[in-house]
Point group: C2
Chain length 422, copies 2
């Protein structure tokens, strides 16, 4: 999951600083490196995980900033409590209770600087170097980075097209040298696979973890972006102890640039420690930003209308992408149309070398993230993650056609099989 | 500097989580606990380090938000690069070059979520558990927390009324078991003492550190708030290698609630590692907030005018506080009127038990931070930190009179001497 990266310097470095042991395990996210490579305007990029900027409610946010700064300039610009702005904590609770079936009290909510910070805080509070964390295979890269930064031993639990299997989880727990410290799940519109764990698996995975005394960390950045099917109870709603943590964020439904996320846990001792470490990390999350998000969430009809708008646009983009894949990709490429979120995951037959395809695709000015960025199993390495939220239907159709043409050409000659591809 | 806090739970805790070893070293900041205790309106609090909220340029910030969200909604609300918004990095450079004599390039600037995050990132990249960090005695609590969170061995280097002495630094380096990983200094309008290192000491300390190969971390949150005297070159401007880091923030000159700070280092290898860890920590600092601060700094005449406004008000409050101390405190209390910043530090004679005084003062609805929050030497424990930026002159005069009355009463009876005080 993480390797020593030569570009981060090693024994031969002339740096006047001596670095901590663990930072050498960390390398810049592959995805972000890919994003840099795809910044030129003529590249059609399906690589990022970006929301559609044209749907940001910028005028609404500007009006909220104006209103908040006029009504309570001191509150919006002064230092705040580490736990977060109380009305935002309440609004988060109300939203979570309504949408996930989790009972929730405002004092169980910690506001974080994006949910990436929540992952990092949890890792710092719970993980000693060498501790085992169980993750899905493949899994969200940002979480893997946060766990790696704490020196954790990241163990990928195999799954199938329905996500992590309870049987594999049971086996992974049994085979771990010591009881794993955490089970990390992204059960709804998974990044990168788009898979949603069904109700049965949610219950079963929670029961397996609970029986083994393994706390569950549920990450739910995409839950509100549902385009089909009905909402499911959170995995952690099936955990009957207080051994769970649930993460959410405004990044995908409002704006990632505001950097406002949240963490919920019913365990007071854990909350106390998370607050103590957050205090040392950044004191608190930006005051104005918290107030903007609070007002946005508090106005439930406007928020629902905004979610409807997003869902309508993203559903159409998802459908455009799915149709184009059906039309242009070789017929033995497997993919599932996700019920929500931002990503479509295509599994290519083994005759394709996906990492090499990535470079060939870039030459044709179209980008995706190769499966190898998310996990190292043979199954994951055959995947490509395609984001459908950040390009209009015309670019989606054009980009997928380019990719499809490349795949078909590879089938005729060139990189088609690993033996001749390298 | 940090102790195992029983309130954070130990072996007897019933928590379903198992906590990482190092979080047990961390306790919530005493100052923040004090702040909570002093939140009621009838307490005159000199305990915080808060800027005056009535001087926040709220209307200006609202106008900037409006303008930025209208001109570039996508940039202001979308994900951004981990390094930070380029125009802000440039504006920070321009400002630093002009005010501290440090040559600076925009690629040497990392935007952080307040300078507290910069302290944490530096600690995580440079410090392994047990590594030695040299700090002033007393020192800034937030820095001590960040170093403690990385498990560092924090060594307080004694100083005098002029700040850390080069001779003590030389001795501390010689006595350390291994070469210290970092020398942390807050040389300008120190928190908590208000002391500014003079030009000679700046050069000497830099030379001692450089000769021993100890990198220097200079924290400069208050530098722009100067009420007397002339600006001095940064300590790190005397370090001739690239073994230095310089921190700044908009918290004291614009708004702490925006959570925008910065870190400068000329060492590319260090920058690369800091960016990698920041990516795992919060991806990047809030996009809108970075743009607000950039525009504020770019408009140099308006920024200078705002600094002048702050300086005028804070200078008057400092002078009010100093005059009240002279009038009401026992004549053998020592204090220095600082040339800038937010704090005045009074050293009480040893007959006073300062921790006990703190509680007695709270009963009279007036608050300060006792020296024991910042360090454990006998000298530090006799200090009290008084913030003069966050109360108007009337409350300053009234609060100091109450404190003075308490001190004079103690001199007559009660807690006057340690033996009878406890």
């Amino acid at each position: 999951m993480s390797t020593t990266d030569a570009s981060l310097g090693g024994a031969g470095s002339m740096s006047p600083f001596t670095y901590a042991t663990r930072t050498q395990l960390l390398r810049p996210s592959i995805v972000r490196e890919i994003l840099k490579a795809t910044e030129s305007a003529d590249v059609i990029s399906f690589a990022g995980g970006l929301p559609a900027p044209e749907l940001f409610p910028a005028a609404h946010i500007a009006a909220l900033c104006h209103q908040i700064l006029a009504e309570d300039p001191a509150g919006a610009l002064q230092y705040g409590t580490t736990e977060g702005h109380r009305p935002l904590r309440q609004a988060v609770c109300d939203r979570i209770s309504a949408s996930t079936g989790l009972p929730c009290d405002a004092c169980q909510v910690l506001i974080t600087t994006g949910s990436q910070q929540a992952l990092d805080l949890v890792a710092r509070v719970l993980l000693d170097p060498g501790d085992t964390v169980l993750v899905e295979e493949p899994s969200y890269l940002g979480a893997l980075q946060a766990f790696a930064a704490s020196g954790a031993n990241i163990v990928a639990v195999p799954g199938d097209e329905r996500g992590m299997s309870p049987e594999s989880l049971r086996r992974a727990i049994a085979e771990a040298a010591a009881r794993p410290k955490l089970l990390y799940l992204l059960p709804t519109f998974h990044n990168p696979t788009g898979v949603t764990l069904d109700a049965g698996r949610r219950r079963e995975l929670a029961e397996v973890a609970q029986a083994a005394g393994v706390p569950v960390l549920e990450d739910d950045p995409y839950g509100p972006l549902r385009y089909a099917g009905i909402p499911l109870p959170a995995v952690v709603s099936h955990v009957r102890s207080s051994a769970w943590i649930y993460l959410g964020t405004c990044s995908k439904v409002l704006s990632p640039g505001l950097r406002v996320g949240w963490l919920v846990t019913p365990e007071p001792e854990l909350m106390k420690r998370l607050v103590a470490i957050k205090q040392a990390v950044d004191l608190h999350t930006a005051s104005l930003n918290q107030r903007v998000v609070a007002r946005f969430l508090q106005d439930a009809p406007a928020f629902e209308a905004h979610l409807q708008l997003l869902a309508g646009v993203y559903r159409a983009r998802r459908d455009t992408m799915a149709a184009a894949i059906r039309e242009h990709f070789p017929s033995d490429c497997a993919f599932t149309v996700p019920d929500g979120g931002l990503f479509l995951w295509v599994r290519l037959p083994h005759r394709f070398d996906v990492d090499r395809l990535f470079h060939l695709a870039l030459e044709r000015r179209v980008a995706f993230v190769p499966g190898s960025a998310f996990g190292q199993s043979a199954r994951t390495r055959q995947g490509i993650r395609l984001n459908f939220s950040n390009a209009d239907p015309g670019r989606i159709a054009g980009g997928i056609r380019r990719l499809g043409e490349l795949l078909c050409e590879c089938d005729g000659h060139g990189v088609r099989a690993r033996p001749c591809g390298r």
